[in-house]
């Protein structure tokens, strides 16, 4: 038998929880959150370091602390039901969701609207094709983080990290504090892909060398990792012969990118963006499929969880409004495209009422740059421009576009960077 809900939320991490709370505040009477892990909170539960929540809760929290806040907001609310240890197997265009857990077995629920908040997963060795043997001791940084922080085991003792994404940087510090030796962090790009504060606090403070424009050309060890061969790379990121050197280690941690987890979305045939690898959404985080919303890292990988919550609150609010059939009529649709140095922009679509509405755009730059001007254009007209002292691919750019500016938009809007002349 299918159980009916106003809003069904797939994923109980920060996005799902924030969306649930927001839908509740908007008046949704029956909200269901489905979470595959044994507890709510998602990946935050393994991020035991601090640095979360400064924007959203105006307070510095640890990952579990942030998750706890989100959980506190939804608990004891009769309108919100949560089911953990629950895997969603299928989501259908009619908004039915097939899920399974050990207690209930297989069950089907249906929402008036569905919010996709499945987060993201880590890129693996196979995706970047690192040559060598396939021994034990190669982990994604997040998997190692869970093991050391939640399960109480070490992934290894002598560690090399490939990639300088934030999880990798955090793990460099974490493993050092556990008594392990972190030999080096290698980054194939000529710049780091992590937050500056993490480079300083996690590598510099512990004298861990960061090799930019370097990669691993071979993993050694038949059974357990015994070392890696490292080489410098050229502009095309191909290893330069003759620059190889070896580092002895028993563990390789990979922090080589995150990919929105859209396996369920793919079955829905909603539009996915080739660069964000998440659903194309409008400013309310409505996807291309009616009744389906998406928020958080499943849409695009965020730099801070605070922005995940912000985005999920938007999705929760509008999913609840749609469930109550209270959405304002759309009079025009505007496509937002990223150009000139901006790699991605979310939302990719604005569905606007006659009077327009305030919209926040989140962007990522393709490469680091200094003293640039961000321009939002509609045809030849510059709707908005902003001087930015520094842009980095690792940090999202957020720009608020006031309602009156959106009211004047027509056709296609572009966002791009202009390098300051002279």
């Amino acid at each position: 038998m299918t159980e009916l809900y106003d809003v069904v939320i797939v994923g109980g991490g920060p996005a799902g929880l924030s969306a649930a709370y927001s839908a509740y505040q908007q008046g949704a009477q029956k909200i269901l959150v489905l979470e595959r892990d044994r507890e709510l909170g998602g990946i935050l539960q393994q991020c035991i370091h601090n640095g979360f929540g400064l924007h959203h809760f105006k307070e510095e929290l640890t990952g579990p602390g942030y998750a706890g806040r989100c959980i506190d907001l939804i608990k004891d609310k009769p309108a919100i039901e949560t089911r953990v240890d629950t895997m969603v197997l299928e989501v259908h265009p009619d908004k039915t969701v097939l899920a399974v857990n050990p207690k209930r077995g297989i069950f089907t629920v249906q929402g008036k609207t569905v919010i996709l908040t499945m987060g993201c997963r880590e890129r693996t060795r196979g995706a970047i094709r690192i040559p060598g043997e396939r021994p034990a001791g190669i982990f994604t940084a997040g998997a190692a983080q869970r093991m050391v922080n939640m399960e109480g085991y070490l992934p290894g003792k002598k560690i090399v990290i490939l990639g300088s994404g934030d999880i990798g940087l955090i793990m460099a510090r974490r493993m050092t504090l556990e008594g392990c030796k972190v030999m080096a962090d290698l980054e194939i790009c000529p710049f780091s892909n992590g937050l500056t504060r993490n480079i300083v606090q996690c590598l510099h403070d512990y004298d861990i060398p960061l090799y930019l424009s370097h990669t691993i050309t071979k993993i050694h060890g038949k059974d357990r990792v015994t070392g890696v061969t490292v080489a410098k790379v050229d502009e095309k990121m191909r290893p330069i012969p003759g620059t190889e050197f070896e580092i002895e280690c028993d563990t390789l941690l990979l922090s080589v990118g995150l990919i929105p987890e859209n396996e369920l979305s793919r079955g829905l045939e909603l539009n996915l963006h080739p660069l964000t690898r998440g659903p194309v959404v409008n400013q309310h985080r409505q996807t291309s499929l009616p009744g389906f919303y998406a928020a958080g890292n499943v849409v695009h990988v965020h730099d801070l969880v605070d922005f995940v919550s912000d985005e999920a609150e938007i999705a929760g609010k509008f999913a609840a409004l749609e469930a109550e059939a209270k959405l304002e009529p759309v009079v025009k649709t505007v496509e937002v495209v990223a150009i000139n140095g901006i790699r991605t922009c979310v939302p990719q679509r604005l569905d606007l009422p006659a009077q327009g509405e305030p919209v926040r755009l989140f962007m990522r730059a393709g490469a680091p740059a200094r003293k640039v001007t961000l321009e939002i254009r509609c045809g030849e007209e510059i709707l908005l421009s902003r001087m930015l002292p520094v842009v980095k691919p690792s940090e999202m750019i957020a720009i608020d576009v006031p309602a009156e500016k959106t009211a004047s938009m027509n056709g296609k809007v572009s966002v791009g960077l202009k390098v300051k002349e002279g």
Binding site: R36, L98, R121, G126, P131, E151, G152, K218, P239, R266
Partner: protein, 486 residues
């Protein structure tokens, strides 16, 4: 002398050949023991190959390779039903991309006919594109309808399980260190677990088979390890590659770099063929990958390289005789060789087993058991169950309601069952080969630690004792104690 075990026949090596032989032996009234030096069966050549059940047109007419390939291919049909093997009978194409290669197709066709391969025909470019729209460079192809793709480790494990239910034994972590002989006749095998008294020994030791033979006193052949590297793609990439099997025109050294989609829907490209001295080095190389990528592009110009999920390499055991080495050793009484089993070894395995057991029958009177149990209990993967079957499975055991591997939808119930089964999984990779947990796009990133913990719980080990694959491949370490700290 006190022996660790006593039996009629010892089979050395737990790959596809050894397990197939053990199963064949278990049909008869005799006691057979298989010894495998690693913690699990099927982790040598059997775990890293093209997984193809060849039609049988490649090998020279009259060779063991040709005969056992064609016969093995036929035998797999019945075995599929009896042992619930994953086999996709999809047929194969040898693709010609120019007139010269087209001539080769006719040679293959003639050889195939002589080998007794049914249904072979040369088809036009249009017919190729009808089957495989991404083979855009094809001018013609040899179509072999009897070829298929199988799940190699699944087959080997099923062979072992079938043998076990018929009274045979499988000893893992049991490496051969020497042989017992009396007056030049083999009388037993010395192993890392103790001495096994045996009347006959069958050498199915893969790339180590010549060393085992030498240890027993037979230097009649040598084995050249030949590495083949592969790139495996996400299931989402199959639609831009192939649905079945596409070979290029063969060269003298190998059948060439092919494109093939496995029984579970992942496409791979490979293998290359590079001889090496090392019998253990299965590392993938940068040069090797470039080699297979550029070759595969000749068949499928647009490779979705961003969708690769893993790389692997295997070693083929190439014999100095140019053919499989099958039968009684010419040098040592009591020793039988099933060696040099390179391609089409997987396809040939059930037939190789028949040849070996027939040879044994020349010296050991064989009597069929009246109660041979050919069928294994049917096990269905959770992901392949209907809704009602899933609900039922969870009602009987609620661990089937907990999904551990999210890429392949493998439940805790299936993982526990794989551990508890005969010849059960005892390593993380062993669980992977039996259940597919860890074979998906995240390659165990998410489920690997959970599988490790389930193995520890079920086997009564601590988490740091759990192995990925071989001895020395521990997954995790205990945390440092306060004393160890600096």
């Amino acid at each position: 002398m006190k022996y660790f075990k006593e039996c009629d026949v010892v089979v050395i090596g737990g790959g596809i050949t050894g397990t197939a032989i053990l199963r064949e032996l278990s049909k008869y009234d005799l006691h057979a023991i298989l010894v495998e030096k690693e913690p699990d069966v099927a982790i040598g050549t059997t775990k890293a190959n093209s997984a193809i059940c060849h039609a049988g047109f490649d090998a020279p007419v009259g060779s063991f390779k040709a005969k056992t390939n064609v016969r093995g291919n036929q035998l797999y049909h019945q075995l599929k039903d009896e042992l619930n093997l994953d086999i996709k009978w999809c047929g194969s194409l040898v693709v010609a991309t120019n007139a010269e290669e087209k001539a080769t197709l006719s040679e293959l066709l003639e050889r195939g006919k002589a080998n007794g391969v049914p249904g072979l025909k040369i088809i036009s470019r249009e017919e190729v594109l009808d089957k495989e729209p991404n083979l855009t460079t094809a001018v013609a192809a040899l179509w072999a309808p009897t070829a298929g793709v199988l799940w190699p480790f699944g087959c080997a494990i099923a062979f072992a399980q079938c043998a076990l239910q018929n009274g045979a034994e499988v000893l893992r972590n049991c490496g051969v260190t020497g042989f017992l002989k009396e007056e030049g006749v083999l009388t037993g095998v010395e192993t890392t677990q103790g001495t096994i008294k045996a009347r006959y020994v069958i050498n199915a030791a893969g790339v180590m088979a010549d060393q085992i033979a030498r240890m027993a006193g037979d230097d009649s052949f040598t084995i050249q390890p030949r590495k083949g590297e592969y790139i495996l793609f996400d299931k989402t990439a199959a639609s831009s590659l192939v649905y079945g099997i596409a070979f290029p025109c063969p060269t003298k050294k190998s059948k060439g770099i092919l494109v093939c989609t496995t029984t579970h829907g992942n496409t791979f490209i490979g293998p290359n063929a590079n001889d090496q001295e090392d019998r253990e080095d299965t590392s993938v190389t940068l040069e090797g990958m470039d080699q297979i990528i550029s070759s595969a592009k000749k068949l499928v110009p647009k490779l979705p390289l961003g969708d690769s999920i893993t790389l692997f390499a295997g070693l083929r055991a190439v014999s100095s005789t140019g053919d499989f080495v099958l039968g009684a050793s010419p040098k040592v009484k009591g020793l039988f060789n099933a060696a040099g089993i390179q391609s089409p070894g997987l396809s040939a395995a059930p037939a190789v087993a028949e040849v070996i057991v027939a040879a044994l029958g020349q010296v050991l009177p064989l009597k069929l058991k009246s109660n041979f149990k050919a069928a294994l209990p049917a096990v269905k993967a959770f992901s392949k169950m209907s809704g009602a079957e899933k609900a039922d499975a969870i009602r009987q055991n609620n661990l089937y309601g907990r999904v551990i591997c999210r890429c392949e939808t493998v439940t805790e119930g299936e993982i526990v069952a794989a551990i508890k089964a005969p010849c059960g999984a005892c390593t993380v990779d062993g669980v992977k080969r039996r259940t597919r947990a860890g074979m998906g796009r995240c390659q165990g990133g998410f489920c690997g630690p959970r599988v490790t913990q389930i193995l520890a719980r079920e086997l009564g080990l601590s988490v740091p004792e759990v192995l990925k694959e071989r001895q020395g491949s521990e997954m995790f370490y205990p945390k440092f104690t306060a004393k160890e700290g600096k």
